[in-house]
């Protein structure tokens, strides 16, 4: 690292640090600001009088006696029972991840071991699904779902999300399994394992890094989805994101926008933790596609 080419004059270094710092502020500041503001009353968060009120919480102090209040959270979680949406979200995410990983690992493993080259078909399907706005697919699903009377149920949404997600998952796991040497399961078979035993005892123990990365991405897709969940779920089955959008519709008139702010912060918190723990996997997952494609 101490090669001459990497040495920098002081001015440039200051410039670089300044730029990185600026970006850091750009990236992180909105979240910190909103998290801080979610403990205030609306008049502080959207302060007409003085923007520093949002920092010090003058109005909040006047109203609740301390610069922090959990009124927004209470309103969202208790009064509007946001917890139901949280539970829904996690049910849907859990099942989407499980289903797509089950199909993905089995299918991806088989694809990578078969002689015929599926790679192109897979890649193109994944690409097409990546390219198409999910809402266009939803338009096609709506009518049959109404006819079969399965609209608004969680399993339906899970199936749709899995279907949208599956080509991508398959492709990612496929390229991951191709990196596991074939000799591994061949030698297991030489030792007398059946094909399934080879998979069970040899491949499964070494496949976790790839599975975790892929799982993360399908979790993010299910968690972040708005178009599909907003269209296909009835009101009591709503997940967090459409619910936040619904808060805006109903609570804006009541002047209680802090419900929405509080629920936004609550919905961001799991992602925050996720990034903290799985940063390496997310980065590797993102770059894997780039290097291969």
């Amino acid at each position: 690292m101490s090669s001459r080419a990497r040495k920098q004059p002081l001015g440039l270094q200051i410039l670089i640090y300044g730029f990185a710092g600026l970006w850091l502020i750009m990236a992180a500041f909105p979240f910190l600001w909103t998290a801080w503001g979610s403990f205030k009353v609306e008049l502080d968060f959207f302060s007409i009088a003085d923007w520093t009120y949002a920092l010090t919480g003058e109005r909040t102090k006047a109203e609740y006696g301390s610069p922090f209040t959990d009124a927004g959270y209470k309103g969202a979680w208790v009064q509007e029972s946001f917890y139901r949406n949280v539970i829904n979200t996690f049910i849907i995410c859990f099942f989407v991840v499980c289903t797509s990983l089950t199909i993905g690992t089995l299918g991806g493993y088989a694809l990578s071991r078969s002689n015929y080259r599926y790679t192109f078909i897979l890649l193109i399907t994944a690409l097409i699904f990546r390219a198409m706005p999910p809402i266009t697919l939803v338009a096609g699903y709506m009518l049959p779902f109404f006819q079969w009377n399965v609209w608004g149920l969680m399993p339906t949404t899970i199936i749709v999300l899995v279907a949208i997600n599956q080509p991508f998952t398959l492709w990612m796991l496929h390229s991951f399994f191709q990196n596991i040497p074939k000799e591994l399961d061949e030698s297991a078979k030489v030792d007398g394992c059946t094909q399934f035993q080879a998979f069970r005892h040899v491949i499964i123990p070494v496949m976790w890094p790839g599975v975790i990365t892929t799982g993360l991405f399908s979790f993010l897709l299910a968690y972040n989805d708005f178009a599909v969940t907003a269209m296909l779920l009835s009101e009591e089955n709503r997940t967090m994101v459409p619910q936040v959008a619904a808060f805006l519709g109903t609570t804006y008139t009541e002047g209680n926008i802090m419900f929405a702010v509080a629920s936004v912060v609550s919905a961001t918190a799991p992602l925050f933790i996720l990034v903290m723990f799985f940063q390496r996997q997310i980065v590797s997952g993102l770059t894997q596609g780039a290097v291969k494609g």
Binding site: S3, R4, Q8, I16, Y17, F19, A20, W23, L24, A27, A28, P30, F31, W33, T34, F46, W51, A54, L106, G107, A110, L111, R117, Y118, T119, L122, I124, T125, F129, A131, P133, I135, T136, L137, G140, Y141, M142, L143, A163, Q166, P167, N224, F226, A227, A230, M231, V244, A245, I257, V264, A267, T268, V275, Q279, I282, L286, T287, G289, A290, V291
Partner: protein, 319 residues
């Protein structure tokens, strides 16, 4: 082999889904039109399932391609700009216009910003890098709608950024939400903010594989810092630039959540929002929505065609 059936299913489920949408759109179109005919006169035609011909009508009506209106505008307009402003009054073209503008403005900015951040972070001290990457990932990983809302609240005329902008231009009545142009700009800024981390991570990974000896050779040859970046680093990252551009084109083309989050439908509509608007609400105009969906799919395939052809050639080259 049970696995084989899983493979077959796993490949075919998504395929069928695609086919389904396309196929269903025909029936959707015909159903709508049939009901109109039913009102008009005969049940005879309602019994005939000839969706194809009348199905096209919905594509051509005012809500979508609006052929007759376009023709009228074309023939009555004196100049091109007048023609385009009239085109902007038609909902589908307005959505199309914003989507295309968004796509083609955001994508290059994302690439440039991502590259700059990657270059900067790469020369940071190793200890801080982890922290920077962590915070950089946030705007990308966070739910688009939520990210849009967070920014939206900040640019509110009573929020911190809104106040800052007012102070900068010293106009206390300025509101970013009120004017179409400013709304477009804030949507585009959101788009860049949201996608830059993605480009950054990709480029950063590319920088790790930078050939050191080439850079040193360039330095010995007397290349300045800027020249080294221009002639060694950027060409090295070029495949990644194509990749990021491709992904960004696709992602930005389906821009949707920020419009809901920014409550910007009055000023800017994207194609996705257009479909969403048809699907939701009281009426649930399925036929209209699916007609726009088909148009979108056609648009996407036009956008992707060069890439698909290239991938196909690559693939044939490999085998």
């Amino acid at each position: 082999m049970p696995i084989l059936s899983v493979i077959a299913q796993s490949i075919f489920i998504p395929h069928e889904a695609v086919m389904e949408t396309v196929k269903n759109c025909g029936p959707f179109g015909c159903k709508e039109v049939i009901s109109i005919n039913h009102e008009a006169t005969s049940e005879l035609r309602a019994k005939q399932p000839l969706g194809r011909f009348s199905g096209l009508e919905i594509y051509l009506d005012r809500g979508h391609l609006a052929i007759s209106e376009v023709n009228a505008a074309w023939s009555s307009s004196d100049s091109l700009s007048q023609f385009f402003s009239r085109l902007g009054n038609l909902p589908f073209y307005r959505a199309m216009g914003f989507t295309l503008t968004f796509t083609f403005v955001v994508t290059p900015f994302v690439i440039i910003l991502g590259l700059l951040i990657a270059l900067a972070v790469n020369s940071l001290h190793a200890r801080i890098r982890g922290l920077v990457i962590f915070f950089s990932l946030l705007p990308f990983v966070v739910t688009p709608l939520i990210g849009a809302l967070v920014l939206f609240w900040m640019i509110d005329s009573r929020g911190i950024l809104g106040t800052a902008v007012q102070w900068l231009v010293s106009d206390p009545d300025l509101s970013l939400k009120a004017s179409t142009g400013l709304m477009w700009i804030s949507l585009i800024v959101y788009g860049i903010w949201h996608a830059a981390p993605f480009a950054f991570v990709i480029f950063y990974a590319g920088l790790q594989t930078l050939p050191m000896d080439q850079i040193e050779a360039a330095e010995i040859d007397g290349a300045t810092r800027l020249q080294r970046i221009r002639y060694v680093v950027v060409p090295h990252l070029m495949p990644l630039v194509t990749f990021v551009a491709l992904i960004q084109l696709m992602d930005n083309f389906r821009v949707f959540e920020p419009i809901v989050g920014f409550n910007a439908a009055a000023h800017a509509t994207s194609i996705s929002w257009f479909i969403f608007n048809d699907l939701g609400g009281e009426t649930r105009q399925l036929s209209s929505a699916s007609a726009s969906s088909v148009l979108t799919i056609i648009g996407v395939s036009i956008l992707l065609l060069p890439v698909l052809v290239r991938t196909w050639n690559d693939f044939k080259g490999k085998t």
